[in-house]
């Protein structure tokens, strides 16, 4: 009998419901909360999720052509993420599991990004570079968990890029036709100006670069050259720490996951680095690099097969649930 798991994602701006039947994706429903201006307001996003949640679940079941009774279990992303958003997904999943009397499976959002990345790119044991609005970390599997080998000491790469373009008046919108405003503005830049390049061991830091770049813009340095320099420095620092971690861990594959992975300039740099190291580079395609329910369903299925479930009354959300807190008993299977 085939295992069928429904997964609910609601950690930030996306309410996603995915259904997997073993390795096959049979439903992928997504509703994205789009703020009119500024960033995500957690309460507004949560209200939006409450309105569309039940119909998103029915829609996913309908598109998979199954009834809720056919499910083996219900998986949910309990963290990390925004509290009010997480609670909506958790409430839906707990209710479904309790009503249907099916097992509830807890899933860590960061682990799910990695597992779906491995599923769609077919890498087995990669160095993981996780770049998104709220996360910048480099991890690899060792002794039962995804261990963190490097991360940002202050702000995440995506957050840094968004803040910079907003402060200099280029955003919102942050991304146009799939290209970030930083990359667009940098295309016209030619000259590299002197800005801090900060690598501390396997960690990066962007707060000094942000301050210095904003000061350069105020001083009257052509904005294109500042964008170009910021892009070169920030992306090179990420690739450098990835290369260091690759040497440290001796992994033969690199997997780039998360929303910022889409940048073609970052991809170019990663391609140069990985071919010089003789390792395979896999970048998760945008469809599965962004938040979605399929990744929760797939990771839930892996966890369920390793016997991981949780009682609904104990399934609290964990806003700051770290990647390296999660045991990965299914690794290598």
């Amino acid at each position: 009998m085939k295992t069928i798991v429904l997964g609910v994602e609601s950690t930030a701006h996306t309410f996603g419901v995915g259904i997997v039947k073993e390795r096959e994706i049979i439903a992928d429903t997504r509703y994205r909360y789009e703020p009119e201006k500024g960033g995500i307001h957690p309460r507004e996003a949560a209200l939006y999720f409450m309105n569309i949640g039940p119909s998103a679940i029915s829609e996913a079941l309908r598109s998979a052509g199954i009834s809720a009774r056919d499910l083996t279990g219900v998986a949910v992303a309990l963290g990390p993420g925004l509290g009010p958003c997480l609670r909506v997904g958790a409430t839906h999943a707990r209710a479904m599991a309790a009503y249907l009397n099916k097992p509830l499976i807890p899933v860590n959002h960061a682990v799910a990004h990695i597992e779906v990345g491995k599923l769609v790119t077919n890498v087995k044991d990669p160095l993981i570079v996780y770049l998104s609005g709220g996360n910048t970390l480099i991890a690899a599997f060792n002794e039962g968990r995804y261990r963190v080998f490097g991360e940002t000491l202050d702000i995440a790469l995506g957050n840094f890029m968004d803040t910079f373009v907003r402060e200099i008046g280029l955003a919102p919108p942050y991304v146009v036709n799939g290209v970030h405003q930083l990359d667009r503005c940098a295309e016209k830049g030619k000259e590299l100006i002197d800005l801090p390049y900060v690598v501390k061991g396997q960690d990066v830091s962007f707060s000094g670069l942000l301050t210095a770049a904003l000061r350069a813009v105020r001083r009257g340095v052509p904005i294109e050259n500042v964008c170009y320099s910021v892009r070169e420095i920030a992306y090179s620092a990420i690739v450098e720490v990835s290369e260091r971690a690759l040497v440290h861990t001796d992994k033969k594959e690199v997997l780039v996951v998360g929303g910022v992975a889409a940048s073609k300039y970052l991809k170019e740099k990663f391609e140069i680095m990985s071919s010089s190291r003789g390792v395979e580079l896999a970048i998760v395609p945008p469809k599965y690099a962004v938040d979605n329910g399929v990744m929760i369903a797939w990771t839930g299925l892996l966890a369920f097969k390793s016997g991981i479930t949780i009682e609904p009354e104990r399934a609290y959300v964990r806003q700051r649930w770290r990647l390296d807190d999660v045991d990965i008993p299914w690794f290598g299977q």
């Binding site: 060792n142 002794e143 963190v148 061991g201 070169e232 680095m273 010089s276 649930w321 770290r322």
Partner: protein, 227 residues
């Protein structure tokens, strides 16, 4: 270009690191390591040259200061920042990373304590290493002493913050590659470190390490503290 500086003997590739190639050979008759920072094609050439030149001269400068402060590190024989080359004494031994998990506990503890002492002396000298991991420590085969290598990211700093980053990096390398022995190893390291920097500085640095570890996003400890 490189062989001409030596005694004419061949250079043999010892290791290809993340940012440099290490070559083994002789320099004026002394068994040496040539550390050559290679250009990174993914970096803008101007940025690349700047990074390599700065790191080469800083590394040489800090290695010399470290020795002066009583830290075991290789002797420097030649520095050429524009070519990104440092020639230094060859240390016969094993990387701590490769042997730590299989060392007997008391031997590991003595070794880690000695490493703590070296980290403390380095900090007392006004230098932070910047990449203090178990991959950057060689345990000398002849005398069994640890040698600190790769000062590529070292900086002159007396900030508790930077010292905390050193200790944090070391702790994290224990957590990520030596998970089973990490608690013992870190305790022994801090024991040695405290002997050199004193009780007051030890407390400051340990508190800073805790603070650094709470800074990353999504940290469980921060949540617990608020409850």
């Amino acid at each position: 270009m490189l062989t001409s500086r030596g005694s004419g003997s061949e250079l043999e590739v010892l290791a290809v690191g993340a940012e440099a190639v290490l070559l083994k050979g002789y320099f004026l008759g002394i068994k040496s390591v040539y550390k050559v920072r290679v250009p990174k094609p993914y970096r803008n050439p101007k940025l690349d040259l700047k990074v390599r030149r700065e790191r080469t001269s800083a590394e040489a400068k800090h290695m010399i200061s470290a020795r002066r402060g009583g830290v075991n590190s290789p002797y420097i024989l030649l520095v050429d920042p524009d070519a990104g080359v440092i020639v230094m004494e060859y240390i016969e031994g094993d990387l701590l990373r490769n042997i730590l998990n299989s060392l007997p506990e008391c031997r590991a503890c003595t070794l880690l304590e000695h490493i703590g002492i070296m980290a403390g002396r380095l900090h007392n000298e006004g230098i932070v290493h910047g990449d203090l991991t178990t991959s950057n420590i060689i345990v000398c085969r002849r005398i069994g002493k640890p040698y600190l290598i790769d000062f590529g990211l070292a900086r002159a700093s007396e900030d508790i913050e930077d010292r905390g980053v050193d200790v944090h990096l070391f702790l994290r390398s224990l957590e990520s590659a030596h998970f089973r022995v990490k608690d013992m190893a870190f305790r022994c390291f801090l024991n040695g470190y405290g002997k050199v920097v004193g009780e007051e500085n030890l407390t400051k640095v340990v508190n800073k390490v805790k603070e650094i570890r709470l800074r990353g996003r999504y940290v469980e400890e921060r949540r617990r503290r608020h409850h």
